[in-house]
Symmetry: D2
Subunit: 399 residues, 4 copies
């Protein structure tokens, strides 16, 4: 897809926060499987013709690492996912080498229970892990992607873990993607760092199911001048996300994003609630039921219901790969700040932008064109010289 | 919405084929109700800001008439619809005058059982009814809209009734809209007449439920690079449409349009059938269930199901009013031929055009702009002089 | 259905707590409509052949009254229900006389806002209203049925309103039916009164939708030895019940009943939550979605989903009429205590009994037979002599 | 579960027609897995306490063989089923020995394409295979179970394949179970043989999904005196059954059984159609959507919808094991003729009997009791002496 380049400049790191979770495991296994031709690139928008000449890093050039606080090895995690029907049977064995390689690059995150390190200490440690990763693999750059379980919204001045990792990304000069509704870069304490870092970033909260549907159905009602009276929804999910979202505070963070798409596309938020239930029996599978009561001509009451049954990891993983490649290339071309053109991927996109999927897709298409036209920026080379003094160093000094 | 104009030029006729049916009754009653401020213009896209300056004829300027072969008076039909929950209780009484006025302008269609009139005779009679309608009301123009029950596809050289009415529209110099999957203008014998008539026309088969959904869901799967394996559907509907579509040949005509949207938006038609069941117990209500089996990343099998419960007449009527206004204005501005920009409204749009609703909406928006910029063409005045010799007269002579 | 009897002994009172609500209005209007032959007795199990000879009071013999704290007249309430599609259009006019008659027998309940009356005073007042009703109509007996909005569970020693009304029923010697999940007779302070009153009673919480389904689906899984892993549900409802159940405490009361049926029929309560959402846009209509994840042979994971769309009042009203007739007849035959045979009607039946609907129906059939065999007891006549000293008087003195 | 018995009398054969199909493979693999304790006996009603003392043959005593016209080995077929998620990953390997053992006992069925053998010749060959199986394993008896793909209904006098196999079962003195809607024993030409054979038999068409639901929902509506107006359904299924049922004639056979349960439980067949679609993308999984329009009190229109998503083989296999054990035990106790008490298992049960699942379950419970009370009949020993002259020999001579 991408033109062959010399290995010394082509390798790009993907540093996953939550690197031993279902999504991360599927990202690593899936990238290897598609690269090896074991599966077609279903779900990877960056493998469609629209991105053919955009200069994205090849899937085969991606190197994986990350942080996590648990220690189940990736090959073992992959076996569990295959047993649950999330990964195809046989895949863990077929890509065991790649899983083991990524596993060796996972560092212990934090704060751990009883951790006495302060915020600054943790950020320094995480940034050090990142720089070490970049240096050892001689990476052109590394993108940090948060795929950890959803945190409750922060209540005080302390930085939640997701913000610590995000700060470490800034400090190491790495583009950042927040695939979750957690805080990440969106913490007041990080605002000045974000502004001065000059790095591209994207987020937040990947749009994988119910909200994806809402982003096409909301515009449909709006374009047909039908009045939505109430939009109610229930999500059933097991796995880690189900458990963390059973915490009402975490669920509230998630739901804020879900509701935004309706308010954006319908003009006003309709009646109706969204429930997120933890149903361990469903494992990594999720079901989302939506019930939309709308008025037609002369106030006639009508109803649309949708039932979406999907595998969360399989829905998220290709989007994570897309985002890592797009953000890496954006970095290479010298872009910085929120990548509003990536609203296609998020429930609650950074920056201003349309809420309707079709318009978001058009924006993504324009982004593909923009990347195509851009040449490689000097920044791309800079990171390959890890000894240099750069924006990340400056950030480090400012704290 | 539109600026007030002098009555002599502003009145526009809407001539409904199937003028005593549920859709037609809802069109007439609903236009009166919205004009009188009894209901907001829910479902009328032509009443949204996008069309504010497009020069569309005002709802209050529309005059209704039509052909039918049954003789139930419109006020009585409206009462039945209100009893079935299709019209709001009380509405038939509130707009009785308008229903009666339209009822007086309904002429007997054909061919009737045992009818000995030939095709030419029937076309002449229908065109004569149309011209008489235009002349007596001093209409600027009249648009013919087919809202009759779906016909089976024609099997021989004979013109089916919908084609006879369409030919009469051409002969009387009237723009034509085919809201059904019946033949209408799409008959080889009419091709030369269509070409020489220089009239705008639109069709076919109004997109009111399952296909509307498909036109937003198909693009969603495509844009996300998800592979649709099978798309299956069942429609349950009572009323006249249910009965006529229980005829497998008529259903085949309907389904061809439904499948086109999937082939257009997905790139290829997936597995799966569409059933249309006549369920008289549902009356004018319809339920459409869709089951979409798709592959995600690494071939993971997922499913989306949708259930659409709507009232067919309430879904169709505002689209019919939109189309009548848009086609009348197109005629006024001198447009002719298939109005491809109205693909937003149809399952199987005339002419080339996108299948995705969002792109169809963008095309409609451009159409609104085009109408806004256009001045009134001389053609608009021409029809007000019914004695003049025009394209319609030429068509008549050619036959 | 029932043999004609002389008017002086045949009239039976139905005293509705919440007498101006949707359910009560539908009960009164519906009883009149069926009696007048305007509608077939759909939904009335007591009108099926099984009860032909059980000696139930005829529908035409029922006299309605009740307590409420709002003052919208029943005929006006009925008009509103007809406008919302809950009652057939035209019915409020057709049965206006009966609605007005019942309206005249509605007394102000309590406690009202700012009410200074104590519990004893309120009970006395309510019992006085009941006795007056019985006396003026020379009723054989009157059954008190609670159809008021669901209360939150009581938190202290104070009697909630439903318990005050229930105590008044005991004091006036009236059989009692609790169609709601509110406390009613199930308050420790009432236990001795219940025991000494010697009256039949039934409850609680009418089984009208989701739980009805669960009571047939639960046994199906159990009988087929299929393991239910998780049973999740969401209820959307507008109307008064939606609003009162949006209170988490009230919802908790409701859900306890819903879960009991699963625990009873599956052997153990499965994973899964039940949500009750207030969606005012739905008016008196409710939608219940259930998602049941179950294991088949070799642990194969399968799913059943159900969607129930009904009108709450239309579902409840015939059950209320059934219960009033059955409880009246039980009283006539001298039965007292909890009528466990009526578990067919309730989410959380009084007394021991099966949770599966089929077994509950079999119990109801046996009850019909038992009533058939019973002769009229003297108790039936006693209440017709309101001056006499009876169990109700004794209860009054004990307090 | 059953008391240990000496091996020489305890082994029971299960001879599967369609022995290489998904259902048969799941039967063999599943019996081995449950026997080995790898999985709990989910779905096996005969393993519930109700049958604890009924004298059923132990799962470990079952020996499998059968006829088929394809030649894919069972271990390979099981691997394919595991890849499709029908069998648990790893199970084919774990029970490979048992699959291979059964595979060795599968004989070529017929008629094959171009087969010149006449009906008598085929029956003789099949019966010979059966007797050989019984003799070599010294089986107490063997039950023949038809799990082959559904045939179209026979159109002429010729015996369809299912009837040939059924005749062979009679001739070999074997009890017979028809788990499909195919003809089997229900052919006029077999009637005298059935009558004289003195063998127990059961059928037809296993109740595994949509009809199972209907057999509990139909009674629910009926018991609540709710009027079902229309019951419509669509089944989507891949696998062999989907393909064979795409033949309208075969589907008609299937649907007759489905409709019977509604007519039986509702009193009359409601409006509505049933569709069976072949959707190869679904593999062995099936989805059944039902839409039930019913009238409540005062004619209020309400709707119930159900969506059943299951794996056909996993639903069928435990029922096949149940039926084989029950029919074997019935034979042992000397029962003959249609086993009406097994209506619990069938869409279209042989003999008279209730259509409601709860009543069928009660009948099954009585059957369990009846088997418990029965001693072993001499018939049980007879078959162990294959040289003896018995009913099967007489049948053979009569033809």
């Amino acid at each position: 897809m991408s033109a062959p380049v010399s290995p010394s400049v082509s390798r790009v790191g993907v540093w996953l926060i939550g690197a031993r979770g279902s999504v991360a495991t599927t990202v690593v296994a899936g990238c290897a499987a598609v690269t090896a031709g074991l599966h077609p690139p279903t779900g990877l928008v960056t493998e469609t013709p629209m991105f053919a000449d955009s200069g994205l890093p090849a899937l085969s050039s991606l190197v994986f690492g990350g942080h996590d606080t648990v220690d189940c090895p990736l090959p073992k995690r992959a076996e569990a996912l295959a047993a649950g029907g999330v990964l195809p049977p046989g895949l863990p064995t077929a890509v065991r080498a790649e899983l083991s390689a990524a596993d060796r690059e996972i560092r212990t995150g934090g704060p751990l229970p009883g951790d006495t390190r302060g915020e600054e200490e943790l950020i320094t440690a995480f940034a050090c892990d990142l720089r070490d990763f970049i240096r050892r693999y001689d990476l052109a750059r590394a993108v940090v992607v948060n795929v950890a379980s959803t945190e409750p919204p922060p209540t005080g001045a302390a930085l939640p873990p997701s913000a610590l990792y995000a700060a470490a990304a800034l400090r190491a000069g790495c583009p950042y993607v927040n695939f979750t509704p957690s805080t990440g870069l969106d913490h007041p304490a990080l605002t000045p760092l974000v502004a001065s870092a000059g790095l591209p970033y994207a987020g937040r909260d990947g749009k994988t199911g119910q909200t994806l549907l809402r982003s096409v159905l909301g515009p449909m009602f709006s374009q047909r001048a039908l009045t939505v009276r109430a939009w109610s929804g229930t999500n059933l999910l097991g796995g880690g996300d189900g458990a963390s979202l059973a915490d009402p505070a975490a669920a509230a963070a998630k739901n804020a994003g879900k509701e935004r798409v309706l308010a954006d596309t319908l003009g006003a938020a309709p009646e109706g609630e969204v429930h997120i239930d933890d149903v361990p029996a469903l494992g990594d599978w999720k079901t989302a039921w939506d019930h939309i009561a709308f008025d037609g001509f002369l106030g006639t009451r009508m109803i649309l219901q949708t039932i979406w049954q999907g595998c969360d990891s399989a829905l998220a993983a290709p989007l994570v790969l897309d985002l890592a490649r797009l953000t890496a290339r954006a970095h290479e071309t010298g872009l910085s700040g929120p990548l509003g053109e990536l609203g296609f991927y998020f429930k609650d996109p950074a920056g201003e932008g349309p809420g309707a999927l079709a318009e978001q897709y058009a924006a993504l298409r324009r982004f593909a064109e923009r990347l195509r036209r851009a040449g490689a920026e000097p920044r791309g080379d800079r990171l390959a010289r890890p000894g240099g003094r750069d924006a990340a160093d400056r950030i480090e000094e400012q704290r």
